[in-house]
Symmetry: C2
Subunit: 122 residues, 2 copies
DNA sequence: CTTTGCACTTTCCGTTTGGTAAGTCGACCG
DNA sequence: CGGTCGACTTACCAAACGGAAAGTGCAAAG
């Protein structure tokens, strides 16, 4: 009789790697987008959700919760009617913005590149 | 009788978003690491694999194949014995390095931050 | 006391991801 | 012609991911 195959359970990835470490915070759908839209000012749940078209409420709240637990962002209930919730970046969260800004920069450059290849190849 | 539920099939995410666009290239386990280790010089399959401990050959070749198809890196068979394969970044691939470097920078800063919190809180 | 708006939460389910282990293929060395 | 090495492939599988749709809790307006 064959033995059941088991998973390794130990953390296999490069544990001290700064790249991997930082990527943990950016991983999951919409995560970088959320940080991006919070980089300059706090925003409400529904505002953020509108900023990022296509995200489902389930995944969206999951992301916000995880980011809050990670100390990346702060959740504050505002006593309006009905009560709203405002999210903002913590100091730690602000540390991530240079990375995201660089990614956005590259994204723009890629668009320009693609635009260029229309002229040269299309 | 209930109707079968169907998925939407259309691309729901922000199509013109530079952040999302760039993230497509960085997504998948080990992807940023591969680009990082190729940023300055070409490297062989087994070298890269050793650079990035924990990655399985299956996922690793899948990444390399995808990155090659995306035009991020170049695959070159070197006529040694036995034949080896050398990977290098294309011009397009080089465009991604600023983003990865920024992520690594932030990763370092996070480590220093954590080191600081030992002193202040631990 | 029903309705409305906000901020979620829950259930269900298909798709994707990524690891393990084993196998393949071609080139050379002896 | 068997063994080894480098570079993959393949089969299998569990877990994570993430979307759709519907439901919950609460506060105030009407």
């Amino acid at each position: 009789m064959a033995v059941k195959r088991r998973k390794s359970k130990v953390t296999p990835p490069p544990v001290g790697c700064p790249l991997t470490a930082c990527m943990q915070f950016l991983k999951g759908a919409w995560t970088p987008n959320i940080i991006w839209y919070l980089r300059s000012e706090p925003r409400r749940f529904s505002e953020l959700m509108a900023d990022i078209p296509g995200v489902s409420p389930k995944v969206f709240t999951a992301r916000l919760k995880r980011l809050e637990q990670d100390g990346i962002l702060l959740r504050r209930v505002v006593p309006t009617s009905p009560p709203t919730v405002e999210y903002s970046l913590t100091d730690l969260g602000q540390e991530l913005t240079p990375a995201i800004e660089a990614i956005v920069q590259v994204g723009h450059k890629l668009k320009r590149r693609r635009a260029g290849s229309w002229a040269s190849r299309g």
